[in-house]
Structure formats: C-alpha cells, structure tokens
C-alpha cells in the first residue's frame, strides 16, 4: 500500500472533519449580533491586536530545538547500526554529542534557557 495508505488516511481525516462541520452548518442557524465576532477577552472589549511583537525568548527555544532536532536526525541511522558496528560507533557519537553539549552549556550559561 505504501504511500497510498497515507493518502487514504488524509482523505479519511478530511471526510471526517468536513462531514462534522458541514452537518453543523446545515442544521444550525446561529443568531448574529455585532459582539459575536469580536475576540473574547474575559468579557472586556479588546483594545489592541494580539498580532504584535513577541518576546525573543520564544525564538531561542525554537533555535535550540532545531539544533538538537538535527542532531536527533543523525542519531536515527546511527541507532540502527550501532549494535553491529560496536564500540567505534559509540565513540563516534560520543564525540558528536559532546560537541553539541558544549553549545548547550554555552546557551545555558548565556541564560538562553531562562524562559523570558
């Protein structure tokens, strides 16, 4: 089946969700009023848009994640063969992880891991 099954699953998801939403659309008539479309903020009218600048702290987490994510990607092929290659593979990966760990410690020291 391979990739076809993925397509089938996507179709299933779409059918499922769309079916539900459409059923609701068909049978429910909502009332309209000017407040309904306003953003909810505990019952107080919103004054400013949420689409404004956020803090840089979020970026740092995404960045760290990205780096370690890439590392993780390289670990997968390593993991499947480590048993047959043996101790050399362990040494190789130790080196790899060690280098990244330095970066991690650096980030820690710089305070990048403090949440904002």
């Amino acid at each position: 089946m391979g990739a076809v099954s993925l397509i089938v699953l996507v179709i299933a998801a779409v059918v499922f969700s769309a079916g539900g939403i459409l059923a609701g659309r068909l049978f429910v008539k909502g009332s309209t009023n000017p407040q309904k479309g306003q953003p909810y903020e505990c019952g107080i009218p919103t004054a400013s848009s949420p689409w404004q600048q956020f803090h840089v702290g979020y970026y740092l987490f995404a960045l760290l994640f990205l780096v370690f994510d890439v590392e993780l990607v390289f670990l997968y092929p390593w993991a499947v063969v480590v048993k047959e290659i043996g101790i050399i593979a362990l040494v190789e990966i130790l080196f790899f992880i060690f280098i990244l760990f330095i970066g991690f410690l650096y980030a820690h020291k710089q305070g990048a891991l403090k949440w904002i």
Binding site: F27, K36, Q38
Partner: protein
C-alpha cells in the same frame, strides 16, 4: 414593576410541560436529547451563589452525573450561563457580551434572588441590575439566597426538560399565560 399579576396557581408545584404541541420530528428529538444531556456551563460566578455552584460541582452533589461537569472558561464552547450572583451595572455589559459571544444554541439560568430580581439589593442600591433578564433572556429562574445545591440541580433538570420539549422561550411564555 414588581407588582406582577398574582397567579392563581400556587407555587411549588411542578409545571406540567406541554408535550407534543410543537411538532418535532424524530431527528429533532434526538438532537434535543443530545443538547439536553450535554449542557456545558460557562464558569461564571459573581458572588455568593457561585460558592453553591461550586458545591454542586463537588463530590457530594456532583453535577457530572448529568454530564454538566465540563465547565468551559470560554463562552464559545459553553452552552449555558448560570448567572450565579449579583449583576451590577458595571458588570451588565460584560454579561451581555459573554452571552452574545456564545455559540447557538445557548441557555441561561438565573440562580439566586440577585440574578432574578436583585434580591437583597433590590431597594436602595444605586448599582445593582434588578434582574438579569433586563440584560439577557433567561430560561430558568431558581430562587433562593443562595439556592441550595439540590435546587440548582433541579433547575438544570428543568432546563433539560425544556430543551427536550423543543419549545422556545416565547412559546413557553405563551403556554404559561394560557394556564
């Protein structure tokens, strides 16, 4: 305005729900059944009655038996507002906005004397709304100060009955006038 015509019937009786007058199909019945059995309240409590509302959620009374326990903090996902407590003039617009922002169908229960009419704060106060139904339509009134938890459960059951009957507020009012 409190000088309402006095009904001849004595209170404390259970109102007989008119059944079968409104023509509803089987499908509508099923939907009404679902709606009646899945009333998610908005977490909305302004004062003392809110504590009794919490008591209803607590283990001893446990409104989760009816499927009411999914209290939603956002009006978008809630089905019923239980106005538990006094509504003052400053709160009025907020309540209205919350009600407006709820997705249809939506129901309102006025819990306690304050929400029904201002209760203890009816006279001589400059800031209390004399009844939440001045702001939003109310489906079920439950008097008391505060109503005991069983009374709130009773109100919820009454609301369920109403939903199952499929009648609108106006129809109910007319029915009541007829009796």
């Amino acid at each position: 305005m409190i000088e309402k015509p006095i009904q001849e019937t004595f209170p404390g009786q259970v109102h007989n729900m008119p059944g079968g007058t409104a023509v509803t199909g089987k499908f509508q019945d099923i939907i009404n059944w679902a709606r009646a059995n899945s009333l998610w309240p908005l977490t909305f409590a302004t004062s003392c009655c809110g504590i009794e509302m919490m008591a209803v959620a607590s283990s001893k009374y446990d409104f989760s038996r009816f499927g009411f326990e999914v209290a939603r903090a956002t009006p978008r996902q809630a089905d019923v507002i239980i106005i538990a407590g006094t509504i003052v003039n400053k709160m009025g617009p907020v309540l209205k906005r919350l009600y407006d922002q709820m997705a249809d169908p939506k129901y309102v229960i006025a819990m306690g004397a304050c929400a029904i009419s201002g209760g203890p704060f009816f006279y001589n106060t400059y800031s209390v709304v004399k009844g939440a139904d001045h702001i939003i339509p109310v489906d079920v009134y439950i008097p008391g100060c505060p109503p005991r938890p069983e009374a709130l459960l009773h109100a919820l059951l009454t609301l369920q009955e109403k939903i199952k009957s499929g009648l609108t507020r106006e129809q109910i009012r007319n029915e009541l006038k007829g009796t």
